[in-house]
């Protein structure tokens, strides 16, 4: 243990595309521990939101995250609507849910690709991202933006789906299903991926509870939480879906959980398209919000997103507090970096599905 050296990982490193700096102490090929620094993409969004009106904030909050942008605005809009005391039309609720599920598919496929890339399977990476593009295409075609959809407005959504678009979505989703099925078969049966991820840095359910970790990571350790079922926003209370859990808690369990959640989300998309009611998608919302507080939680691709909103009766919110799932997952990294090898660092870091932009805000 004499030749202990520290290797820097990030904020510029091929492993992490996220601005996160880690110092990892290693000795030979063994990892002894690590520490990290955050805050490279702190943009002060919570403070900025207090200086803008509620309508501008929808578009500001979309910039919290580059991957799960829609679920942030959805949660924010539900919070504002709760303060206003208005209920959006059912069709708008279904369109919001559809976008959320498409986003989950794209986020999970992105993650599967990145994991495969870090263990040296660049082909799976490219194929996963190719499939992910179909889901982005749907979102671009219906909302007008590939990543920043600007789909939500206070009081509903900014577009309605016509017959041709609905047909396009149905056929694209069925194509996507065949592609994703093939891809997930590859991922679930690929022995090389299995050999690299199984048994790497397993996390117990107690540790998950201790660190308050949420989302697919918690579900992969056998903690059965999913806000879509436990505290559903409309229309999830009317939709049937399975919550996937796995007992092992290692990187392989996370892979399987995310792969099956992708399938489940595809099914949900079909259900949503089948059950979507007709009607308006927007109700007029007043610009001034009555004083009060609102807390809304929703299930983002990475876990629970929490919004606290306080209004003092003016056009601007008095306080917007955002809590994202990544922050708790980040706090667990140093604990996971013990007793692994240097070659496992990418698997551990990628396995968490970091979104530092969300965590820093």
């Amino acid at each position: 243990m004499q030749n202990r050296i520290s290797i820097p990982i990030g904020p510029q490193h091929p492993l992490l595309k996220e601005p996160l700096s880690m110092m990892i102490d290693i000795s030979g090929e063994k990892v002894l521990g690590g520490s990290m620094r955050l805050g490279y993409v702190h943009r002060g969004i919570e403070r900025l939101a207090e200086q803008r009106n509620y309508i501008q904030n929808v578009l500001l909050i979309e910039r919290v995250c580059g991957i799960c942008s829609h679920v942030h605005t959805t949660t924010y809009c539900y919070a504002v609507e709760a303060l206003l005391g208005i209920e959006i039309p059912p069709r708008a609720q279904y369109i919001r849910a559809l976008m959320c599920e498409l986003e989950r598919i794209h986020s999970h496929l992105l993650w599967l690709g990145i994991l495969a890339k870090h263990v040296g399977l660049e082909t799976i990476f490219m194929h996963a991202w190719h499939d992910r593009e179909s889901s982005l295409d749907i979102m671009e075609a219906i909302s007008g933006g590939r990543v920043s959809h600007a789909a939500n407005q206070i009081g509903g959504v900014s577009f309605n789906l016509d017959k041709a678009q609905a047909e396009m979505i149905r056929s694209t989703i069925s194509n996507l299903r065949t592609q994703v099925e093939g891809l997930l078969n590859v991922i679930e049966t690929e022995p090389a991926l299995h050999a690299r991820t199984q048994g790497v840095a397993p996390v117990s359910a107690e540790m998950i509870r201790q660190y308050c970790v949420v989302g697919p990571i918690a579900r992969a350790s056998g903690v059965d939480i999913d806000l879509r079922r436990d505290d559903p926003l409309p229309p999830y209370d009317q939709l049937e879906f399975k919550v996937i859990t796995h007992a092992d808690g290692d990187a392989w369990a996370r892979t399987l959980v995310r792969a099956q959640e992708t399938r489940e989300s595809l099914n949900l998309c079909d259900t949503i398209m089948r059950d979507m009611p007709d009607g308006e998608v927007l109700v007029r919302a007043p610009r001034k919000v009555p004083p009060g507080e609102a807390i809304i939680r929703s299930e983002a691709p990475r876990g629970e997103v929490f919004y606290y909103l306080r209004s003092d009766g003016s056009e601007n919110p008095a306080r917007v507090k955002i809590r994202t799932p990544t922050l708790s997952a980040l706090s667990m990294i140093p604990a996971q970096l013990a007793a692994i090898q240097v070659a496992d660092i990418p698997v551990v870091l990628a396995g968490i599905d970091l979104c530092v932009a969300c965590a820093d805000r």
């Binding site: 050296i5 290797i7 091929p14 040296g120 660049e122 090389a192």
Partner: protein, 308 residues
Amino acid sequence: MIEELFFLLVFPGMTFQVVCGLGFEWLDRKLLAMFQRRVGPPWYQPLADMIKLFSKEDLLPKGANEMVAAFLPLLSLSAVLTAGLYIPIAGFSPVSFEGDLIVILFLMSVPTLAYYVAGIVSVGIYSILGGGRSLLQFFSYEVPLLIALSGPAILARSWSVSGVMSAQAGLGPFILFQPLGFVLAMVGLIGKLKRDPLDIPKAKSEVVGGSLTEFTGAKLAFWHLVMNVQAIVGIFLLVNLFLAWPQMLHPLLTAGIFLAQCLIMILILSTTSSVFARLRIDQLAGLGWRILVPLALLQVAVVILMGV
């Protein structure tokens, strides 16, 4: 004199090897792109990359030994080019002698050692890690590779590549007698070239660029060229040792068969690199010493029994 210079500089020497090396890089990248449903680079891309790298600023971190760092890629390049000179191209071997197989194998291992030293002299943390890993990997693949390549020599009772080829003209391609040896030699070659799935010393997400992390400009260009020429020399060697076809009447036909065999080898290399995930270094050491070496010894034993 003119003739010897031609052998040395044009064919089968420097120019030919470098052109083949660049062609190999292009084919490899194009195939990989097709596997990944991308368009892929145009045919001149490797050359363009070389030219671009040459025009870049050349710097090394403080404390690095500039002289040694500049010397290492040139040494490796000359070693692999010399090795390529002794390998018959489509049966044409102007400078062949008894025992040249051993010389080739020695020269081929020079770049790996130079790669290790390059990691040490360029002082980066990732370079040192990558250098250490490359040495570890060297010990894992080199022994099975050497044993596997000695199989054909033992069967042909000659340590010259031309001798092995002429023995195959009588007996038929040696891959028929030692398929196991061929597979082991392929694994060894992948390890030597540090390609996926044995790209442990330069795994991007683990040690950034390995030994070459701190190299820039012309030095990096030469390193890339070394890898490409090494790949093409290794492919030529394996084709000659395992897949030699009896000489045809028409030299063009012989050259065509040789070319087709090389293309198949490149296809195999590209496919393996896109199908398998990278191994961990302990997994590689286990694979090398517990599986590959016993298999290689078994293959040699079979070959010796065949010869008796």
